[in-house]
Amino acid sequence: MVPADLRYTTDHEWVRLEGDTATVGITQYAADQLGDIVFVELPDVGRSLDQFAAFGVVESVKAVSDLFAPLSGEVTATNPGLTASPEAVNTDPYGDGWMLRIRIADTAQLGELLDAAAYDDLVAAG
């Protein structure tokens, strides 16, 4: 069961909303599928993102995959710890493995994301 207080994308990102700030990462399922993560390429602070557009890249020993923004908004912070310890995405994807914070533009976009139960169903369906 994934954390109940988060929202999810069908591309396996999660988002935690606090006020107008959204924290974004990838799910445990995504991290497990990718294998050992060796590098995370994140956008510069200040860049504005469009919902569901690629914002960065996650690189594991076997693949490089795009990261997609769950919500539109401006990047206010990226996780500095991932430069030295990208493996935090594998070991603690919902905590130390967070990737970026965005000041969201439109709360209505939350309606287009999955809740925990729907995301669990998505993963279970393979």
Binding site: F39, E41, D44, E59, S60, V61, K62, A63, V64, D66
Partner: protein, 459 residues
């Protein structure tokens, strides 16, 4: 069961997905005159007759000339060990091992190429490898755009015109390429115009991703690379140095003057001049750009038993994995030529390479004196290494008449740079360690006679 890769219906589905009606439309960018047309093959011939015919064709190549042609491709002596070792069958394997770690010998040869070149250019990362210097330069230009998320690159007109043309082709998809002019007169004539560069970098509406300059430049002149690097970096742009590898034995390497990327032609490292290649593209960068550099990167590690092992590292951004999002889809490893460069460097060693560069510079100084005495002074006053331009009235006709006298008098600059009036009377000539005093004498004597004949004819 069909053994072809694509059935007719496969092709139709792919074309439909692309919104095209024929495969030919994929090649619309290629001028029609340059596209392959049905081959007009003569009827079969007996092997003996065919061999004689091919020998007669090959005999039309002039290999007896005293050559002063460089312009991006350079003649050098190569130790016989280089070609002999290339003949070993072990090297003729699948050129991209898809289970690379079982081919430890192939990986070791790539690792050694990368290590030797990294030492030569003084940068952290070298990829193996690219088609030629022009392709490597174009990849370097694309790297600056990806790394800075900017879309405009400035390239000096001192970069080889073929390289500029190749970069322009790569940029045809929407990126902007602007040429930095050369200084037209005075002590810096023929080198990159720094005032123009500063002005171009200052355009706040069109931020610059990268600045590209060559050392030595196309005219053989030495560029103020540290200053160009400073100007580029002050504007938030990356700096790409286009290099000639043998020169790095005596000139400062790109890493020493702040270049972020080095690109260049590897042919001078043990590879014979050949019309149309195959050649070897060198591409190197700082560690900060390691995820932007296309091509193979091989690393050394230890296996489970603690033994030395070579591995394909940073493979994940290659085209077989990333498809359309790969760092490059116009990329190959010229493995056998990279191996030739490695064997050449290992055989002659750092002192030998310095001798090669210094001998070439010495012969070029002899050539300069001889040509000046024959009536052809240099076009530019600045320092050069082993290649320079001389002023010859009616250069194209003189060049043709010298060919009849057994002298390949370099390159007619009016052909290479037709848009530059300052080069209209220029011949670009070079010398290397294989240039003999007798060749220089032949050139100077023939040139003096041609020039006096022209002089007396016009009187």
């Amino acid at each position: 069961m069909p053994y072809g890769p694509h059935t007719a219906s496969d092709r139709e589905r792919m074309l439909a997905a692309l919104g095209l009606t024929s495969v030919d439309e994929l090649f619309d960018d290629i001028p029609p005159a340059m596209r392959a047309s049905p081959l007009d093959l003569p009827p079969p011939q007996p092997e003996l007759e065919l061999a004689a015919r091919l020998e007669a064709l090959a005999a039309r190549n002039r290999t007896d000339l005293a050559s002063f042609l460089g312009a991006g491709v350079y003649r050098h002596w190569s130790p016989p060990a280089v070609d002999q070792l290339l003949l070993r069958g072990e090297w003729y394997t699948a050129y991209t091992p898809y289970q690379p770690e079982v081919s430890q010998g192939t990986l070791q040869s790539i690792y050694e190429y990368e290590s030797l070149l990294a030492e030569l250019v003084d940068l952290d990362v070298v990829s193996a490898s690219h088609y030629d210097g022009a392709a490597a330069t174009a990849e370097a230009a694309l790297m600056t755009c990806r790394a800075t998320r900017r879309e405009r690159v400035l390239i000096s007109r001192g970069v080889h015109p073929h390289y500029r043309g190749t970069v322009a082709t790569y940029f045809g998809g929407g990126l902007q390429l602007d040429e930095i002019p050369l200084v037209s007169e005075g002590p810096d004539a023929g080198t990159t115009d720094l005032v123009a560069l500063e002005r171009m970098l200052a355009d706040a509406d069109r931020p610059v991703a990268g600045v590209i300059a060559a050392q030595p430049d196309f005219l053989g002149l030495l560029e103020p690379m540290p200053r160009i690097a400073e100007l580029a970096h002050a504007a938030g742009a990356l700096f790409v140095a286009v290099i000639e590898p043998v020169s790095l034995a005596v000139l400062a390497p790109p890493g020493a003057y702040g270049a972020d990327i080095a690109a260049g032609e590897g042919q001078p490292l043990g590879i014979a001049p050949q019309y149309g290649g195959p050649y070897l593209g060198i591409l190197a960068s700082t560690e900060a750009l390691v995820r932007q550099i296309p091509g193979r990167l091989v690393g050394m590690t230890t296996d489970l038993d603690g033994q030395r092992a070579f591995v394909m590292t940073m493979r994940a951004r290659e085209q077989d994995i990333r498809r359309d999002k790969a760092a490059s889809n116009i990329c190959t490893n010229q493995a056998l030529l990279a191996l030739a460069a490695s064997i050449y460097l290992a055989t002659i060693g750092p002192h030998g390479l310095r001798d090669v560069a210094a001998l070439g510079a010495g012969r070029a100084a002899d050539l300069e004196r001889a040509l000046a005495a024959a009536g052809a002074p240099r076009l530019h006053p600045g320092p050069y290494l082993n290649e320079f331009a001389v002023r010859v009235p009616d250069a194209r006709a003189v060049h043709a008449r010298l060919l009849d006298r057994g002298v390949l008098a370099g390159l007619v600059l009016a052909d290479a740079e037709p848009g530059d009036p300052t080069l209209a009377e220029g011949l670009l000539v070079c010398a290397t360690e294989v240039t003999t005093a007798a060749d220089i004498g032949l050139f100077a004597t023939a040139l003096a006679e041609e020039l006096s004949a022209v002089g007396s004819a016009s009187r």
